[in-house]
């Protein structure tokens, strides 16, 4: 299916124009093409290596609409398969995670070892199969490309993709900032939270990178923060936001900015400083020693990272790993976890979890005001009197090629960058999303 991308993304840099058509969020044929070309036709995030730490451990996920099984074999090697029995297509592994030397299909008992090889076709000898069948491979279909970047596992259902290193490019250094917070790497805190919202997946993509909405969508949360600031007591949930002026409208000077990278990866960041409100504070000295002050300081910056199209790591009030799973043009499922450095102290872990629940959970005090806004957008997208949205224009004259003195501190070379005070709230970083989108959607099949 071919999409006329110019009908959806109006990108005229020389004229200072970048607009996105509302239809990009609602059209069925756009969604079908996104599934085929982006989610099932290129690199997507599958999970963390830490989700299957031991021999024969597995976890399940999706690449677009395709069920995926990530499985470690007895020797420790990880592989990714389509989680579907080759016999009749039934989903094979039924749980989010587990440990299995053998997967037995619950429908007709075909079985597979933890390397995905066929172990048995039930009653094969009695089955009067043709020689052609007997010569076929009855193992699980491997995901054509599967790579591990520092514990972050990615797969592609298309073999025609660049290497993962090329796909991540410089943005890999931003995953390093997560992986290097502990010498043992990162892990997911037990307890996954899944929520849905009735709006397009790209709203989540954008919102993670949206500095503009914070004081507008979250004033009720900000009021709670202000109240906690005034009357701190041992029993209130402490938040990093209380100790930072980053989000306050009147804050002066450079407070952060944005970086964008090829292939649609984006970072929105702000300075928090080395403060005890951040659970990582206990490691501030050792991290500086191990990685240098520049990289250590970056670990303490507020960072919202998107690895296009489905992974977001938000390190602000706490630390969240999100996987975006589009279900339809107007329905998205979010699977979310608290991601944390392995081996942190009990006190730091408790602080991280408490901050997380309050801010990130769909049962907390901030995320619902985002997701409800996505739904309001989805409703409003029906309005096509002027189909072109005006939300991609802030920062147009501040965006420059390459990095700046902050990215230089970790030798990071983004494609473009913006340095921002608290009221600039760059929107040009979304351009990276939609340029990658147009590149993927517009090319030949």
């Amino acid at each position: 299916m071919s999409i006329d991308t110019a009908a959806y993304v109006d990108d005229r840099p020389d004229e200072g124009i970048f607009r996105v058509n509302r239809a990009i969020f609602t059209d069925e044929q756009v969604f079908e093409a996104e599934m085929a070309r982006i989610f099932e036709g290129g690199w997507v995030f599958l999970g963390l290596e830490a989700q299957a730490p031991a021999p024969h451990d597995f976890f399940t996920t999706f690449a677009g609409r395709v069920p995926i099984l990530v499985q470690r074999d007895g020797e420790g090697q990880l592989r990714a398969f389509v989680n579907s029995c080759p016999h009749k297509g039934a989903r094979l592994a039924q749980t989010q995670s587990g440990n299995a030397r053998l997967h037995v299909c619950p429908y007709h008992s075909w079985s597979f070892d933890s390397a995905g090889r066929s172990k048995a076709v039930k009653w094969q000898k009695a089955g009067c199969y043709s020689a052609a069948f007997d010569q076929q491979d009855h193992g699980l279909a491997a995901v054509p490309c599967f790579e591990n970047y520092r514990g972050f596992l990615f797969g592609s259902l298309s073999a025609d993709v660049p290497s993962l290193a090329d796909y991540l490019g410089e943005a890999a250094k931003l995953l390093d900032l997560v992986a290097d917070q502990s010498e043992e790497g990162a892990e997911l805190v037990p307890g996954q939270v899944t929520f849905t919202y009735q709006a397009n997946w790209k709203l989540q993509l954008e919102n993670c990178s949206d500095a503009y909405h914070f004081t507008s969508a979250h004033p009720s949360y900000i009021r709670v923060l202000e109240r906690r600031q005034q009357e701190t007591s041992g029993e209130v949930v402490a938040s990093v936001w209380e100790n930072s002026d980053y989000w306050k409208e009147e804050t002066q000077g450079v407070g952060g900015g944005s970086y964008s990278f090829p292939n649609g990866h984006v970072l929105n960041w702000g300075v928090f400083g080395i403060t005890p409100a951040i659970p990582l504070y206990e490691s501030a000295a050792v991290l500086a020693e191990r990685h240098g002050e520049g990289k250590r300081d970056w670990m303490f910056n507020m960072r919202n990272l998107t690895i296009f199209p489905n992974l977001q790591v938000a390190e602000n009030a706490s630390s969240q790993l999100r996987v975006i799973r589009p279900i339809g043009p107007g329905l998205t499922e979010m699977r979310t976890w608290c991601i944390a450095p392995k081996g942190e102290s009990d006190a730091a872990r408790r602080q991280r979890i408490r901050q997380y629940e309050d801010f990130f959970n769909p049962t907390g005090m901030a995320t619902p005001d985002d997701t409800v806004s996505y739904e309001n957008c989805q409703i409003g997208y029906a309005g096509r009197v002027d189909p072109w949205l005006q939300g991609y224009a802030r920062g147009m004259t501040a965006s420059v090629e390459g990095g700046n003195r902050f990215s230089d501190r970790i030798g990071l070379t983004p494609a473009r960058s913006v340095l921002a005070d608290s009221q600039l709230c760059d929107e040009t970083l979304y351009h990276a999303y939609y340029r990658a989108w147009a590149e993927r959607m517009g090319g030949a099949e």
Binding site: Q192, F195, R223, I353, T363, P368
Partner: protein, 165 residues
Amino acid sequence: MATLTRSQAEELLFREALLIDTRRYDEWLAMFTPDIEFWMPAWRNETETTTDPDRELSLIYYKGRRNLEDRVMRLTSGLSTASSPPPRVVHVISNVLLTAGDADTAEVSAVFTCHRFDVRMNRTECFFGRYEYALRRESEAWLIVRKKIVLLNDVIPTVVDITSI
């Protein structure tokens, strides 16, 4: 002094439900001790909830009524898109059992369904699960010192606030 009876426990739980359903939040908060533990665990996998709020994630965990006051303030501030207009909710509570108790403390288990009509999106949802309460006698009144909510359908449709569980 006499131990808590089941009908007293039912009355307490039913009253709490009425106060939430009719948005009488100040009276609702007054049913809790200042050191209330208000806890809705997350699910670790298909069959087990998390059990250690300090090492594992919860959907909601607060130690101290002060934090619930924050939640009420947010709900009633008019500043939360997700909370206004407020959804219409009704809690149905059943299977109330006394599971432990003496003159000054009691433990109660119950089940709930909460029907929510989200007027904003014109959609009706039902949340269901189990409650575990710990109660403490303070002067003549029984107050809630611990409320654990095990939400069984935990894929959250956009939002679940303290009013829908």
